[in-house]
Symmetry: D2
Subunit: 324 residues, 4 copies
Amino acid sequence: MTDTPPEAATPAWDKESVLALAERYRRWGQWGPGDELGALNFIDAKAVIRAASLVRHGRVISLAMPLDAAGPQKGAYGRNNPLHYMVQDGGDIALGAQEHLAGLRYTDDGVSMPLQCATHWDAFSHIFYEGRMYNGYGLAEVTSAGAARCGVERMSASLTGRGVLLDIARFRGVAALAPGESVSDVELASCAQAQGVTVGRGDIVLVRTGHLAAARLEGWGDYAGGDAPGLALSSAHFLCGREVAAVAGDTWGLEVRPNEIPDLFQPLHLVLLVNAGIPLGEMFDLELLAEDCAGDGVYEFFLSASPLPFTGAVGGPMNPIAVK
Amino acid sequence: MTDTPPEAATPAWDKESVLALAERYRRWGQWGPGDELGALNFIDAKAVIRAASLVRHGRVISLAMPLDAAGPQKGAYGRNNPLHYMVQDGGDIALGAQEHLAGLRYTDDGVSMPLQCATHWDAFSHIFYEGRMYNGYGLAEVTSAGAARCGVERMSASLTGRGVLLDIARFRGVAALAPGESVSDVELASCAQAQGVTVGRGDIVLVRTGHLAAARLEGWGDYAGGDAPGLALSSAHFLCGREVAAVAGDTWGLEVRPNEIPDLFQPLHLVLLVNAGIPLGEMFDLELLAEDCAGDGVYEFFLSASPLPFTGAVGGPMNPIAVK
Amino acid sequence: MTDTPPEAATPAWDKESVLALAERYRRWGQWGPGDELGALNFIDAKAVIRAASLVRHGRVISLAMPLDAAGPQKGAYGRNNPLHYMVQDGGDIALGAQEHLAGLRYTDDGVSMPLQCATHWDAFSHIFYEGRMYNGYGLAEVTSAGAARCGVERMSASLTGRGVLLDIARFRGVAALAPGESVSDVELASCAQAQGVTVGRGDIVLVRTGHLAAARLEGWGDYAGGDAPGLALSSAHFLCGREVAAVAGDTWGLEVRPNEIPDLFQPLHLVLLVNAGIPLGEMFDLELLAEDCAGDGVYEFFLSASPLPFTGAVGGPMNPIAVK
Amino acid sequence: MTDTPPEAATPAWDKESVLALAERYRRWGQWGPGDELGALNFIDAKAVIRAASLVRHGRVISLAMPLDAAGPQKGAYGRNNPLHYMVQDGGDIALGAQEHLAGLRYTDDGVSMPLQCATHWDAFSHIFYEGRMYNGYGLAEVTSAGAARCGVERMSASLTGRGVLLDIARFRGVAALAPGESVSDVELASCAQAQGVTVGRGDIVLVRTGHLAAARLEGWGDYAGGDAPGLALSSAHFLCGREVAAVAGDTWGLEVRPNEIPDLFQPLHLVLLVNAGIPLGEMFDLELLAEDCAGDGVYEFFLSASPLPFTGAVGGPMNPIAVK
């Protein structure tokens, strides 16, 4: 796997050229008409073995945001922060409410949450264009009963493999990219080169803008849905060309906001998720990992980011664990 | 790390001897008065490196039960199966409810669930005895606001390391142990020996009884709270003596039900979770892993079972990933 | 308003005759193309005044089932019993978790529940036939965002008026009608006559089968969705002919189960709710009221059964209060 | 029942005098040691009959705020606005997801909500002082399982009776009282006199400040928990002296905020709810009713405001219906 030179920067996008981009990287049918894994098919046994070989220091780093009421959600579009409630707690024990139990006392709890309120993967069933999701599956596959095709549970034994961090903020020498700043294919390649890391087939690419850390510091504001730095449409050349398995970032929607064209909402989702079959990860907390990578100069690692098997969910949470 | 001979079988237990057992393996203060990790401290960098070295074939196996309405919960003690609801779905798109978006269409969803309704870890804050949880923390640490000490989020960058499967059902040559059948320290040691695997410091031990597979086949019945096969009290000698980091199984409560003594509810929880600081994993689906291990005769693997960081939760779900 | 003689019993139904029945009583457009109240328009000021005049003894009787985990739901079709959770409780106070407050201490709580899990009204948006609900509104009016037309909140200042109890079980001299037993138009009229009560324009008719009381006694079983006694299709002649405003009963679905014809699910819903614009009330607890009415021989009363204004809900709970 | 002259205005309060006020109006034991109704005992049959006699025009007015995501809650103290979700909707029907049903199609939904997020009654179990709620019941009565004593379901066949509106904003000639402005016993009496209405035993008193309407117009801001106009401590003389059954208002907490003394949080709750056993109603929408009363000069009416029987809830919603 060689670190090929980036494609030339794309000129200003219009709807036609974005659709052509989507068409160019469409992988529908590549793994059969019933496929629900898309680019995750690139993570083969060899890739997993190689990933495990990257563990050298035994450091375990979680990339998950805390799941609690202090999260970034504001209720828009039905997305609240997780609501945690206790079913039994220390107070119940103190008040004698468990005297029916012999000796031991217990606590118990539950949660109500939107599945994409914090660190999560978008499943392919999350986005449609002209009535089609990845591999051409139609609207009828996602009813109130959930996703019959491409639910997040289909990926629950995947998304474990080689992770590569592209720390764009550090590459630029800034604390964080500003909302509206985009990351092109050229910059992804240059950053990888500067970091001395290759990106290739089956990799799970993590792109750090620093936006999450900045928002956490300053107060969430519109972090969960507002303007944000993120991937440019041209990043598709880098990601699809190298056959990565998945890509994730530290913003709410991965791609740059405002979008590069006004007449297609989240156009990179169209290219990557719907057409190229690449799962998108959002709201990854890459701060500790970035510090660690800057410390030893190693930007590759074993990554276990397999989502929880919520049957029929169109996306969902997990605790991505990087091991170096 | 040698595979030491098991202790002699313990005679019938009474409350006094169980409390003595708990006292014997108490580790409060061993890692300082503010420790919230307990035996997870045994998973050091070396253990993680060793764990990664076990990846030889690149096989990735999820040990998580599906999270959906078809799960084993019946509503007792406030534990329902996950309730999944769609916030936007294909029907909304079909009916034109997203015409305000340019081009792309999306689906979204949420879930309401008890945190211990399926595959999960018990956090130390889950069990108290005489007003104390692990390390002596008191009842006031777990209020309706959640656990201020030993919430599951404290373990979210741990529980990744070397996994060892002890397949008791296969060792006995049965499909599944029957409810009420217990697994002693002697049997754990014998099973490990027969499988050609050692168990030692920092390991995450998975004990398969076959009960989950049997219940799934026959209909859940009282799987989630009824009689079950499981660990005997004597298993503490094996688990604490070898300084394992954590232990998990394929039943709702890990230990044998009915309990070995009537006057202490879940007495092994008292010994392991409260005193020895060993997180307990419940409702792990070990079927695919067991088949794989039986196939190649290798019962050790890399295991990434780090729980999601639900702040202040007294236990919680994850997707345990075994890699061989 | 006279108590007219019942129509002759209808012979066995087929799909064609049911559709003709629906057609016969269709009121679409009767109150304009934008109407969302249907037969509730029959409750005019005069009817309310008359209803209030029925209060003679000052007895207040609630017809609501308890909203708690002991209810009849079993989880089928996403319908659980209400899940009540405490946000702050006495235990928190006992443990000192509210020391930040000066002097006073408080408790707080929440609930998660299907809106039709207990005593409730079906809104018109609850049932469609060939893509149309009451007044011809289409499917696009009910998306994941709720009902834009005929949500239950539209009825929240109505459903207060004259109530009439038709105690069929007592009329038959049985504790409860058996599942599958139906109540015809003839029987409704005979019962009213025997009870000495008239039924007419704007009345809210409550039909008691005794099934709820029997199920509560014997254990819920399949009360919430199984076979049940209930209204026959012919009851439409009585209810529509007399221009009642609404009709409610003590079973999960008001009409007899199994349905009178196999090729139309809940056919009386088609006639009454979709076509005649008559809100249907289900799981009303009529036991105390029935005792009271039997005691004084008066089967009419003031009834305040206005639903809570859950915006866009397709049905919903309330506490129906009968005052005699 | 005569309209007695108000007591002289109370001078500045301190903790001692507030506790003396609470002591003065304490009714613990007045209706026996097991009483859970408090001042609701004042609503006797005669009061209900009298209330019904007030219905003259047949006008039905709902006093409930809409229950939806646009409500005033901001998530503080675990209080969100209601989360409504569809279980089946028009989109499912459009996509053919109900083809298993014969002919009819249905929609269904659920809600998750704090019980006091909108129009509601505080149950006696909602507030404690020095470990005691109304009638002396202790903390152990309210655990994570809910309130064993004085849950809101105890009042579900009460709170129907004579309602009296005291429209303070109109009395003062302002659109709305400003946050911090309080309403004294003297003003309540003067307002009643000006309106030509008496207040006496068993009445449910509704106090309008105009604050809800103002907040709805301007954007909720901190309506749900911030500074607000409301009842002064001295109002207890009026309310307890006249033996009202309950009192409600159009703000989040009924009493004036900031409180009149800093060292007792919500001191009027202590006097009325804890000691005098008077249920407090909050976030009543009194606008339509106020217009109606101003229109005909009649400020008394039949009121059916019985809460839904959420078992063990410490407060809860209802749809208060005023009938004139």
